[in-house]
Amino acid sequence: MDHYLTLPGWGLAVFQSLLYIALAPLLVGWVRKVKARLQNRHGAPVLQAYRDLYKLLAKEARVAHTASPLFRAAPYIVFTATWMAAATVPLLVVDLPTAAIADIIVLVGLLALARVFLALAGMDVGTAFGGMGASREMMIGALAEPAMLMAVFTLTMTAHSTNLSSVIDHHLAEGFILRPSYLFALGGMVLVAIAETGRIPVDNPTTHLELTMIHEAMLLEYSGRHLALMEWAAQVKLLLYGTLIANVFLPWGIGRGMSAAALGVGLAVVLAKLAALGAGLAVGETVLAKMRLFRAPAFLNLALLLSLLGLLSHVILEVGA
């Protein structure tokens, strides 16, 4: 893979990771807009999420007097870890140096790192809500991570690599083959993505009710730039999962090589795929109510089961086929 590690390759990798943080609010704004239209509302402009971030960044950051340095450091760690995780997922083109140095296990690890600091920050100030949110987040995380690993292992077994670029390359080279294992893994992955990004029916990102919150409960004590970074990290995470589903399971259209044309096509195609995924998420969030917290394990068990079925069907149906 040494041929990835070229200067233009690095340039493109940096550009792509910047694109991640630049596009993340857009996806959230788009989902909100579609949701509003489905509820017969006009809704806020698609760019509202950028304005919110700008507003928060400009505001003074207040910190509780019981907060430790960890509380101040956590937003930067969470944001950076999420951003780094996102950088390993090919957005526009495959074969980037970031892909060569980080595989899918690193991706899951970086997300886990962000989660740990998020939960620690939630507990740090010592309010009941932070601790409650942290305990719920860890419950979700403990169930979601195995399901996610299982889903990606299904892919990596087909491609014989845990590197996302290689998986995509393999998938593209093979052409369109309807693999049962991929369908199962896709199902598991979608459920994990919904749980991990705190969307309905697992968590409600728009709620104001402290007692029902999972992700938001850990952020209640944050303000100003700290809150902006935490929210931004959550938006990057949503984009990360969207891209993972869009580019790994349906990789067609992603750029190969570094020509401007490949980049342009790659960008247009990924935006179209993400827009479709975002609209699908909005539809799901409109027709479903949030489920009881204790149904979340059953939901994630289903994700694990689907991923496991994917793995099994790969072994039984596809190995040697």
Partner: protein
Amino acid sequence: MSRLDWLPDFLARLAAEHLLAHSGDEAVLAPAQRLVLDPEDWGNAAKVAARMGLRHVGMWADPSEGAGIVTRVATGADSTPDPQGIAVYACLEYQGGYVVLETAVPLDQPVLPSQTPHFPGLARLERHCHDLTGVTFQGHPDPRRWTRHQAWEEGEFPLRTDFPTAGRSVRHVGADADYPFPKVQGSGVYEIPVGPVHAGIIEPGHFRFQAMGEDVLRLEERLGYVHKGIEKIAVGRDPAALARLAARVCGDSTVAHTWAACQAMERATGGAVPPRADWLRALMAERERVANHLGDIGAICNDVGFGFAHMQCARLRELWQRRSRALFGHRLMMDAICPGGVAWDLTAEAPALLLADHTALRRAAIPLFDVIDDHPSLNDRLISTGRLSTAQVRALGCTGPVGKASGLPFDVRRDCPYPPYDRLEVVVPQEREGDVAARVRVRMSEIQESLVMMDRLLMTLPAGETTAPLPPAPPGAVGLGLVDGWRGEIMTFVRFGADGRITRFFPRDPSWFTWPALEQLILGNIVPDFPVCNKSVNGSYSGEDL
């Protein structure tokens, strides 16, 4: 008086316990029958009433000048009455008939047996009564302060005549930090303090959860953060000013509270209300019910993350309230009711507009209600959540949607009708399950029944005056208002002084009994289900804090 057929039986039971009930002037507190008791019989009378199955409607004390004399003269107990005695009242209901028990205690030793052991719903009313008037209830299971936070000292009683109306000081009131909450011990048990400042824009109230994991072991409410001194600032008002004050007891029930206060004053003075005013009052009360039920149904759906229903209900409610503003002068119809009638009249074209509105709301709401009633994802959250048994609502005395959803379909409009409901068919929905879903269904049915009633009211709207002057109040006149608001039965007591001004005003919001119900129905549920349980009860903070 067929609704009081049971009264001789009740009196016989009192007599069997050697309790002496002097039937005072029967018409004084019409439609309730007044019974004067000796103070020492106060607790036992409640025991007899509870055994017979009477429902407690509320209790209050009246320390205003001369209030105690009337009572003590009626008992014949005292030939040299203490002019500063405190009269204490308790209202009971059975099969639509009301009885008011009355007694008096001396100001220097205001001690009375508690009725709470027999009527658990009274616990906070008696604590409130103690904080404001200083009457001590012996045998009360929970003698902690309730309405008194830090705004006045222990041993000061704001409703007494020696306490200045403006209060003692205007200094900043500190946080109420030392309230003794009971602790739950055990490994894995933790406390969640919620409020009084919340993440959303709602009224202030403190909720103290003790939980094990996500299971709620115990919930205690601490209210009183919006104490406005309503009862104190009512003193010295004329009837019109009292009606304006009653409109502000609780903004979302402004019509019902104003109506109850005006009804009490009209009964005290013998004032007549023109039929057209009665019809218009009922029209507004039903409009208020529809608006609030729409809001509640939407809010319940929103609390389980079903934003679609919330938005639709909010839209319908907004259109409804804009119409109220256009035709009734105010979005909530505040101050539209005045003593002796209503303060405005409908224009000639208004009935046609309103009838069209009712049709439009039906067309929009019925499909929406079908979705809410039949949505699997909503059903999963609402069915079996926050269950309240018939025995529990009976013990606490809950009325309104909370009672109706748990098998107690009491409704003042049907069971003790006041004009114009005595001329209307009132259909009261009833459910048995007592869960959040049942409380939603009751609200959906009430909206549809209210629409039918409003159609009838508009089609039979009498012509004529909308207001009649209120005759001057005889000195010491008292009156009882009983109105069914959208939260349930509202009971209001007024007393006039010698100068025709108010000396005592006590509005008893239904929330006094539904807030304790919330503490019970949350048990066995998980912490994240509290908001939806709370919203399904929707007690008023302002109405209880007074």
